[in-house]
Point group: C3
Chain length 289, copies 3
């Protein structure tokens, strides 16, 4: 991994822990608890406000916002667009996680509507990203049926259309963004095979991305240095969220073999790992887009 | 335990792990997280879709469906019957878990309505099963005030009326079904005293039953062999779900003495135990109905 | 700590474990699971019933009720006042936890409405208690921006107006009540720095308070003894809930250093500690009001 990615990851982890970004999560009820504990372990602060009469107010107060369609309830269909609009107006970055879109009509329509409201970053598995880009039919519920490798054109298309950093989760993670009309893409190798078998590791990643993206302005100073030319501040923030998760998964896998204790060890590791530890445990390579 | 039950449990555990059934859970928000993690540990895949505009679509895609009335929200009252109808139409098995019915009017009416929609299996504690059969007033919230032993007539009545396999959870579990107008019943001895003190062990059982019942067709070949005469494929699937849970509870109890670490060890054990391990840790006896 | 507080805490812990109070929690979806597991570990029984057609019925059946505004959904805005009214009518004590009130309009209006319905006890952080008393603007989402020390006038004002025992959570916990027009206040020193970084430790405290407050009548006999003059039965119940949590946090901190394993160890400790253990691990002092 080039020195610049390592230094960037270290800087981003420190910046997040020092400022404790407040992340407004409108997410699915299956993963609310683990999402909140993950944020706390990663050095961020969670809050979950879904009521249509409150969501916009809180989106303006928060450091970053996550909109996740995993168990979309009728009142969330109403409140998520309000939160996205308020966030954009207030300059608060927000992340779209279009869980299980494709075959399911309500969330698919909602995700496409949200896509028009200027997300700062987008994450999903390959099937979700393809469906969001209009290039696929979606997966089997929350499971991807497409490969991450095949999703690069869809991710690039979304990045170009929206200006968002687009992350595709899989065995390797793909991070794609647009710079002056040119697609940039990175592969991240990290993590552990048990991670997808703990519920919420993907959804909590979207929340943690929202916190990291909120500290992107603090990373801008890095980029006056020519060594950081390959990456932009928001893309570095998204990369760091993935690296933090993956490195913690790797450490957890060294300490626990089965799902229950792995999940506990993973929270411990998110809390324990320094930025330097994280950078040393992951591998970043540039993808040809 | 007769050789046939052991061999059947082994076969069912393998069949589920090989096919990873996708279980659509419309369940209570208290237990969604543990239910999802339990399914993943047991070799199944969870998805939770509650919106009235999506529930029927997803019920047709899933391998099996769970409808659990534990924290029934207004939009679930609307969507659960849609899911049951869609499941039946698509040949997808579904499980009814009538949590805390009896005194509480909305869920009691809902459960009785769902009962008319051909559930494949039903589970509950003795008070819930009695209330569902119209033979009792229900318990103290989620706690049973009736004994499992006394619930046999109620379970038999439900099995006869609906054709469902009916399971009653307790110190010993009772599994009841109807074969050609004759009530069959088994007792399962397994588990550990701490299990009822971990929230969601019962509710997650309903979800896991939905996955196991979905692989019942793969078990049918067993029944050409005369040694399997005492049990039917769906009943074997329900028995296996209970055995998987109970055996994991027993192993967890060997490793942890207190509730927090017991819950973690139980997830580990669900993931770790082979079908043969499970069969060796439980005891099945035929009940006189 | 004076002997009377120790003896009172021991008595309250035993009384709760002997009677297993049934606590009806209308709480936020982020913490429902940990709340239920905490109640079970503390010797109580959880049930969560939110539907407007059921909430009042169940509030009358329960031993105690918790109303927590953390993720208030539209149907809860309707059902919480119904539950409070039914509880009061049936003589069932209830606890108000006005999570994140202040800037958020729906929950702030709801909490003020609930405040008129005779809560038995109130808990929150300093910012929430100040906002509820009309003496502050609320905090940063769920985080307090005021100090516990500064919240004494707000807590005293609420206690006087409503007759409730008012508890303010922080580094030290403050417990305030009114006796014959005179403000009484105690400081509790207990707990561990990691506790606020495990989601739900505060919200679960409100639930556990509801169970403890329900056994206050069983503690009344203590107060014929002049040594108990400094405290009232409901205040002792509230103090005991806090002491139980804090002592368990202290023990967990001796066993685990990181958030994931700390959370597990804390549930273990809630289950494990006797009343005498709890009393020996906390420090109570009288505050000058």
């Amino acid at each position: 991994m080039t020195q610049s990615y390592s230094a960037g990851i270290e800087k981003a982890v420190s910046a997040a822990r020092e400022t404790t970004p407040l992340v407004h999560c409108m997410t699915n009820t299956v993963v609310q608890n683990i999402t909140a504990n993950v944020l706390l372990a990663a050095g961020q602060a969670p809050a979950m406000v879904d009521h249509p009469g409150e969501a916009a107010t809180f989106a303006q107060i928060a450091s970053g916002v996550l909109l996740n369609t995993g168990t979309v309830a009728p009142h969330q269909v109403e409140s998520m667009p309000l939160a996205a609009e308020a966030a954009v107006k207030a300059g608060v970055p927000w992340v779209l996680d279009p869980v299980a879109i494709g075959a399911l009509e309500v969330r698919t329509a909602l995700a496409h509507r949200l896509l028009e409201l200027a997300p700062t970053a987008i994450r999903g598995n390959a099937s979700e990203i393809s469906a969001l880009a209009g290039l696929g039919a979606g997966g089997r519920g929350v499971d991807a049926t497409d490969s991450v490798e095949e999703s690069l054109p869809a991710a690039a298309s979304l990045a170009e259309r929206t200006g968002a950093v687009v992350a595709v989760s899989g065995k390797r993670d793909l991070i794609v963004w647009d710079r002056d009309g040119e697609t940039r893409a990175l592969w991240l190798e990290s993590g552990h095979d048990l991670m997808p078998r703990v519920i919420g590791t993907g959804c909590a990643l979207g929340a943690t991305m929202a916190g990291y993206v909120s500290i992107a302005p603090a990373l801008e100073s890095l980029f006056s240095d020519a060594t950081f030319a390959p990456i932009d501040a928001k893309a570095l923030a998204v990369l760091t969220a993935h690296a933090h998760f993956g490195a913690a998964g790797q450490l957890a896998g060294e300490r626990a073999e089965r799902l229950g204790s792995f999940a506990v060890a993973w929270i411990d590791a998110l809390d324990e790992l320094s930025g330097a530890d994280i950078a040393s445990r992951v591998n970043v390579t540039e993808a040809s887009a």
